[in-house]
Every structure is written in structure tokens, then in C-alpha cells.
């Protein structure tokens, strides 16, 4: 029985679907190094021209916010509606800039 220690490291794959758009998370895969991860990402995640550029990042290098911190991190923004243009009422003839 193989052990986790012999597993190839896990990588997260980000794909830019077309020129001008941002890279988006597609999924993950196992590879020995960055070059192999790129090559595998191409085979696994872009078989139908889904991308023009790929990033691979070792999964262990990603720091994520904790679900429990959701309220602390994001809720303070809920009552700051004045940050949105719709908060302000101005005459129609002014129009949109």
C-alpha cells in the first residue's frame, strides 16, 4: 500500500480563458514540479481551447481566509451603501458619466 508521502505534490490550476480576462481557478492536479504541472494542466483543463494562459501554484502555498472569519471580514461592508453610485439621488438630466 502506498503512502501519502510518495504522492506527487498537489497544484492549483488557474486558466485565462481569453486575452484581456483574468486567470480563474479551474481545479487541481498532482505533478512533480512546476513544468510538469503546466503540461498536465494543459491536458486536463484545456482540451477544448478553454485557455490562452495557465498559472500553476503549489496548493500548500495558498493561504485562505477561514470560514469563521467571514462575518468579521466581509460584513462591515454591508452597511456602507454610500460606497455605491445608486446611493445618490441626482436629477435625471444630469445623466450618467
Amino acid at each position: 500500500m502506498s503512502t501519502a508521502r510518495n504522492e506527487w505534490p498537489l497544484w492549483e490550476v488557474f486558466v485565462r480563458s481569453k486575452q484581456g480576462l483574468e486567470h480563474k481557478h479551474s481545479g487541481s492536479l498532482h505533478a512533480v514540479d512546476a513544468a510538469q504541472a503546466l503540461q498536465m494542466a494543459r491536458d486536463v483543463y484545456t482540451r477544448r481551447q478553454e485557455g490562452v494562459s495557465i498559472w500553476v501554484v503549489p496548493s500548500s502555498q495558498i493561504t485562505a481566509s477561514a470560514p469563521d472569519d467571514k462575518a468579521e471580514l466581509f460584513e462591515p461592508m454591508a452597511d456602507k451603501i454610500y460606497r455605491h453610485p445608486t446611493f445618490y439621488e441626482i436629477p435625471d438630466e444630469v445623466g450618467h458619466m
Binding site: H30, D43, A66
Partner: protein, 339 residues
């Protein structure tokens, strides 16, 4: 390619308890929050708290699904070198590569639940984990390639589209990716059969023979009748399963009957007929003894499929080790040069 709504309980696992024995207030709060999220049709993500039974069910279902994709490469791989034209060969190669890709998406989704790739592969190789019973049937003629696309992938689409709305985020996202590619599988199969049906009487007979052999195993793919699926209710409660086995099977039969007419083949069921009252098709009894025999290791190709899979894994062992050793050496060299 194809999950089957086969959420078989792990015979080695202890029975799941509805309520944890040592449940304390904190645990209750987490459970309440989880239930509320499920009720609101929200998504559960890897870092979120989830009941142990939910996690186990998902690991089992997603890995069974992944195994089905990987084992499913074999019956079709059987025909790559014998495809009748370069075009058909390219299509079949692309399809088998997709199956491998689908397996990889799903293994990744299973790993987000804290199970390692090695663990799920070990479960497959030791025969502990199941995969879809359909892949334990042989692919005897070229017409089987068309029928697998039309019926097996068609059944898979019926099964998989509802899983795109599964409550577990990584599984749902993997399924969306898979479903987008599945449509190609089904259509290439149907078109393949249309070409054969426009051919010689021998070719038409070959298609009919393939339909006769695959029809009943395909109906069984949807899993046991609702009455015999004790896990279904829990799966529905958790938003993992959205439509019952029998309902999916009925939908499939109703969709397939007109397609068979277009193709000009007969479905091998004398009891198959339109029920005006119920506004759906009645169909004959499925041989569940054969289904369970196949699931439990005694189908026509179980031993061959598993042996091929284990051999591929073992033969690849030195490659995996060599690639790892090479990467380590490259890394050490780079560090030495930097120093």
C-alpha cells in the same frame, strides 16, 4: 462519463448514527448552521464544517464516480486500434482522453474532503471501492462504441445534470465541467450509429445486436429501485442527490424511445409501451439479480477490468518514482547554483 446513482454503503463502515453521542452545544450550533445552509440551497465548501457522515458519503460517491470514469476507459480503449477510419479513431481517442480527464476532476474533488489520491486508488485496486456496473460488460463489436455513446453516455447525462446542483461546491463544479463535455460523447455515438444504419444489412444487424445487449444493463445503471435505496432519502436531504433513481430511469426511457425510432432500431423489451394515463412509458422488469452479481464482482468482465487497472498502476510505479527523483535532483541543483 457515467456515474450511476449507486451510492452503495461501505460494508466495512460502522452504521452511521443520526446524532453524535457526545454532541455538545458547539457541535449543535455547527450542525444547525450546516442544516440552514443546505435548506437555503447554499454551497458547502472544503473548509466549512460538515457532518462526518456527509463527508464520508461524498468521498464514497465522488470516488466511485471517478473510478467509473477511469475504468470506463477500458471498454472503449479496446477499439481504438480497430476503429474503421482515421476520423473515428481521432474521435474515440478524444473521448477516452475525456474520460481520463473526468476521472482527474473528480479525484481532485474527492481530495478536497481530506482523502488522499493514494487512499482512493488503493480502495479501487483492493476491490473495496465500487464503480459503475456498466463497465463490466464487454465491447464485442464496433457498434458497441456507438451504443455506449448513445445509451450509456445518454444515461450518464440524465444522472449527472442534477449533480451539477449538488450542495458540495467542488463536486458541483467538477460536474459542470464534465456535463459540458458529455454532450459530445452522446452525439458522436448517435451519429456513428446513424452512419451504420444507413449501411449494409450486416451493419444494421450489428447495431441492433449491440442495442439488445446494452439496453438492460443501461437501465440498471440508474441504480436500485427507490424502495431498495435506503440511502436516497439522506442524500436528498443533504442536496447530494436531487432526483430519485426511478424518476431518472423513467426520464431516460421516455427520452430514448423516440430516438430509437429515428435510428430505426427496436428496444428489446416486449412490455415497453406508452401509458396514456400516466403520460410516460411502461417498461419490463429489470433483472436485479444480474445487477447485484455484477456490482459484487461477478459480472462478465469484473476481474479483467480490475486486473488491467492494477497492472497499469503497478507498471507505472517506476515512472512516478523516477519523475519524483528527477524533480528533487533538479531542485537540489538549482539550490546549489543559487548558493
Amino acid at each position: 462519463m457515467y456515474t450511476q446513482a449507486l451510492d452503495l454503503p461501505d460494508p466495512h463502515a460502522a452504521p452511521l448514527k443520526a446524532v453524535a453521542a457526545q454532541s455538545d452545544a458547539a457541535q449543535d450550533a455547527l450542525q444547525t448552521r450546516f442544516d440552514a445552509k443546505i435548506d437555503a440551497d447554499g454551497k458547502i465548501e472544503p473548509q466549512d464544517w460538515m457532518p462526518e457522515a456527509y463527508r464520508k458519503t461524498l468521498v464514497r460517491q465522488i470516488s466511485q464516480h471517478a473510478h467509473s470514469e477511469i475504468i470506463g476507459m477500458q471498454p472503449e480503449g479496446n477499439w481504438i486500434s480497430r476503429a474503421p477510419s482515421l476520423k473515428r479513431k481521432a474521435i474515440l481517442l478524444a473521448k477516452v482522453q475525456d474520460e481520463g480527464g473526468h476521472g482527474l476532476y473528480l479525484y481532485s474533488a474527492a481530495e478536497t474532503l481530506g482523502t488522499s489520491r493514494d487512499q482512493v486508488l488503493d480502495a479501487l485496486h483492493t476491490g473495496k471501492a465500487k464503480y459503475s456496473s456498466i463497465f463490466n460488460y464487454p465491447t464485442l463489436t464496433w457498434a458497441d462504441m456507438g451504443v455506449i455513446g448513445w445509451l450509456v453516455d445518454g444515461a450518464a447525462i440524465m444522472n449527472q445534470v442534477p449533480i451539477c446542483r449538488c450542495s458540495y461546491g467542488p463536486y458541483a463544479r467538477a460536474m459542470i465541467r464534465i456535463c459540458k463535455e458529455e454532450s459530445f460523447h452522446q452525439r458522436q455515438g448517435f451519429e456513428n450509429l446513424m452512419v451504420m444504419m444507413a449501411g449494409t444489412p450486416a451493419q444494421r444487424a450489428m447495431v441492433q445486436d449491440a442495442v439488445n445487449r446494452w439496453w438492460w444493463p443501461v437501465l440498471a445503471m440508474f441504480g436500485p429501485p427507490d424502495a431498495d435505496s435506503p440511502n436516497s432519502a439522506q442524500g436528498m436531504r443533504w442536496g447530494i442527490k436531487r432526483i430519485s433513481n426511478d424518476d431518472l430511469r423513467q426520464k431516460f426511457v421516455d427520452a430514448t424511445v423516440p430516438q430509437a425510432k429515428v435510428l430505426g432500431v427496436t428496444l428489446p423489451d416486449p412490455d415497453l409501451k406508452w401509458d396514456e394515463g400516466k403520460q410516460c412509458h411502461d417498461y419490463g422488469a429489470i433483472d436485479w439479480d444480474e445487477f447485484w452479481a455484477t456490482v459484487n464482482g461477478n459480472g462478465p468482465c469484473n476481474k479483467e477490468r480490475l486486473a488491467t487497472r492494477v497492472k497499469a498502476h503497478e507498471s507505472g510505479q517506476w515512472v512516478r518514482e523516477a519523475a519524483m527523483a528527477h524533480a528533487r535532483k533538479q531542485q537540489q541543483r538549482a539550490m546549489k547554483e543559487a548558493a
